[in-house]
């Protein structure tokens, strides 16, 4: 039988261990992620709270990202995500005015976290968006091309330092991870282990 | 009326080395390459567009059919559109038999053009390589080669080693991303000096009496009897054109424009299957010759050749967004440089000197629209996408024949406007993308 306790990350190359620095890059692909779809202005939208382009922490601690109009990514520890999505997809939901669906997206998306005061300068090398505070403040959520791979990106500052969660299709994971390391090289990037 | 004196023609001097030496020795100047004359009120035929297609059409009307009372109208100067902005690649290794036969005739005409027009058009048949980076593109190259051979066109698929010997600067190693698996090799393909072709046709047509009118913009096409407003549209016929210099009556109007084909045709009430997109090109500073052939990569959307002056001339695919602006973009040069360095990593220190763009009229099947329209006397030679220059001589020859005979010549039957009404498109789409 397969070892199902172990989540296989798309990042399979090994990197020299590091205790940190600025910026840091962490592979947090194993984080539980769900994708929720509902009417952009229905009751489910109200319940999830995060408007398109913004994020919000749900009651159980999961992070809810307003990734597209009528579309949310919910992430966190498995139990946190379960709490946040529980009850959203009622069977009767399909007959109500709000048409809702939710699916486990954990295996579909690689997830990386870039943290540090140099993180924005590093992202400027791989993404055309404006990372300045007014345009991309803490809590911002956006989709864009990063090193030519379409990604969802959420700014989620940690310990006073700018921090960005970057999601991409799982199969691009290794490529994107390496592209981020290359972009961060001039700033002294280090690869760290952490949870989302 | 300054034109009167100028209209008296004498036989202009032929171009030759001896004449060049004599005039140089005597310090004499050359006569005008084409006359400046007043616009008449009536012509046997009016050609709209003073690019290489319009000039060739007028030239062959006069030379092959004796129709000399012809005016070529251009809103700017001769060759100001695509004719002066293209990368001047000539080839006939197309995919469909109809395409191959047509372009092969063009290559034949080009190969004697310098003598026919008495101007050195510098047709350099240096060979043309279309690189294949994947099994599927290699399969398309084979397809083209096989069809080409059956039409008598010199074309074959060669392997990486032969590619390397034709163009040593190409990286034929076991490249990580876009390996060169082979190429379609077309020895008669090459490049020509585009301006010389324009001037040569204009000068030769002028010698036969055709009039070239620059800065003459057509503002309307006058029709009668058509189903649309003002007698335009299907069932009608052309009686003249209106210009910024006055009205002209004529029974025949040939639309030889590129970039403006939809607008000119709409003046006659004819809608076309055309979307206009800019096509960009760029040139580097000169370096000593190192690239002996024309190199094209469809997958990487780039084509490149080195001029006799030592510059590399690049082109790519048309811009994705429909546009009448010819300003050029940074992303074009970025993509171009990335792709060309993928093919030739050794030229990273060459400097891009200038970029420009021209307008291309794209059709759904990557083939032109030629011949008659539902409006009698209104003919089109349009929809030339990115391949108009290489087709100019044969297009002029065939359009002239269509004007004179009133019938569609066999060589251009496949390109009729009616194909879009009956759904019989040309199969060049299969080899589409970048095919210079």
């Amino acid at each position: 039988m397969a070892d199902v306790s172990k989540f296989e990350s798309p990042v399979v190359a090994s990197y020299p261990p590091s205790s940190g620095g600025d910026p840091t890059l962490a592979d947090v692909s194993a984080t539980t992620k769900w994708l929720v779809r509902a009417d952009a202005d229905g009751p489910t939208a109200d319940q999830l709270g995060a408007a398109f382009g913004r994020s919000q922490v749900a009651a159980g601690g999961a992070l809810v990202l307003g990734s597209r109009p009528g579309e949310w990514i919910v992430l966190g520890a498995s139990v946190q995500v379960s709490m946040a999505v529980a009850g959203l997809e009622q069977p009767e939901g399909l007959d109500s005015s709000d048409f809702v669906s939710a699916l486990d997206w954990t295996h579909g998306r690689a997830l990386f976290r870039v943290t540090g005061h140099g993180a924005a300068r590093m992202l400027e090398k791989v993404c055309s968006l404006d990372w300045s505070d007014p345009m991309t403040p803490d809590g911002a959520v956006v989709s864009a091309s990063v090193a030519k791979v379409t990604c969802d990106i959420a700014r989620n500052d940690a310990d006073g330092a700018p921090s960005y969660l970057i999601f991409c299709d799982r199969s691009f994971g290794q490529y994107l991870f390496d592209a981020l390391i290359d972009a961060g090289d001039e700033f002294g990037i280090s690869v760290v282990t952490s949870t989302a | 009326m300054t034109g009167f004196a100028r209209r008296i023609r004498r036989r202009p001097p032929k171009y030759s080395a001896a004449k060049l030496a004599w005039k140089g020795f005597r310090g004499q100047s050359w006569p005008r390459v084409w006359r400046e004359v007043d616009l008449k009120r009536s012509y046997d035929a009016v050609v709209i567009g003073g690019g290489v297609h319009g000039l060739a059409t007028a030239y062959y009307l006069a030379r092959n059919h004796g129709i000399k009372n012809v005016a070529v109208l251009d809103k700017a100067y001769l060759g100001s559109g695509g004719s002066g902005r293209n990368t001047a690649i000539i080839r006939s290794n197309y995919l469909t038999p109809a395409g191959v036969k047509f372009y092969d005739r063009s290559v034949q005409l080009y190969s004697t053009l310098a003598v026919d027009l008495n101007i050195n058009v510098m047709f350099s048949q240096r060979g043309h390589l279309t690189l294949a980076h994947s099994d599927s593109s290699l399969r398309t190259m084979h397809w083209r080669a096989e069809v080409n051979k059956l039409q008598g066109v010199n074309s074959s698929v060669i392997g990486p080693d032969e590619v390397k010997s034709e163009a040593p600067s190409l990286d034929t190693s076991d490249h990580p991303r876009y390996p060169i698996l082979g190429a379609l090799y077309h020895p008669p393909g090459g490049v020509v000096r585009h301006d010389a072709v324009v001037w040569g046709y204009a000068r030769a047509a002028d010698h036969m009496g055709v009039e070239m009118h620059q800065k003459t913009e057509v503002t309307d096409i006058i029709c009668t009897g058509g189903e649309g407003p003002d007698g335009k549209g299907a069932g009608g016929r052309v009686t003249g054109v209106r210009t910024n210099r006055g009205d002209i009556s004529t029974p025949v109007v040939v639309n030889c424009t590129a970039g403006w084909a939809s607008l000119i045709s709409s003046m006659a009430g004819v809608r076309l299957p055309i979307t206009t997109h800019p096509l960009q090109a760029a040139v580097t500073e000169p370096v000593k010759m190192f690239l002996p052939t024309v190199v094209v990569s469809g997958s990487l959307h780039v084509y490149v050749s080195q001029t006799d002056r030592g510059e590399l001339v690049f082109g790519a695919a048309v811009d994705p967004v429909a546009n009448y602006s010819v300003r050029g973009s940074l992303e074009f040069t970025e993509g171009l440089a990335g792709h060309v360095l993928e093919l030739m990593p050794g030229i990273s220190r060459m400097r891009l000197l200038r970029q420009w763009s021209g307008l291309c009229d794209m059709t759904p099947d990557y083939s032109p629209v030629m011949g008659f329209t539902p409006v009698d006397g209104f003919l089109v030679d349009v929809g030339w996408g990115t391949y108009g220059f290489k087709a100019a001589p044969v297009s002029g020859e065939q359009m002239a024949e269509a004007v004179v005979t009133g019938r569609t010549p066999k060589l251009i039957e496949a390109f009729a406007l009616s194909r879009f009404d009956n759904g019989e498109l040309v199969g060049e789409k299969g080899a589409a993308a970048v095919g210079h």
Binding site: - | P273, Y324, N422
Partner: protein, 90 residues
């Protein structure tokens, strides 16, 4: 690099979007004549001026929308019209 005013995301680089071209209404497939259908498939107004066209915000919100652009100057004029199917010259 053109800035395209996505109605959801805001101004985005044109490279982030897919250009859908001149917008046009789909004829009723039950009644369309071959000529009408092929006109829908192939014929275009292609104006040098204001054009009603469609875009797909491929790297952003993944929504198709229509707007008007001047093909000679690349100006946009709004507001963007989601799902507008009236076609051609505007």
């Amino acid at each position: 690099m053109l800035l395209v005013p996505c109605p959801n995301c805001g101004p985005r680089n044109s490279a982030d979007l897919r250009y859908g071209g001149e917008s046009h209404a789909r004829p009723d497939p039950a009644t369309a004549s071959p000529s009408e259908w092929r006109s829908y498939l192939y014929l275009r107004d292609n104006p040098a001026g204001w054009l009603r066209e469609t875009w797909y915000c491929a790297s952003g919100c993944r929504r198709w929308f229509a707007l008007e652009r001047n093909t000679a100057t690349n100006e946009f004029r709004g507001p963007p019209l989601p799902g507008d199917k009236r076609g051609g010259a505007a």
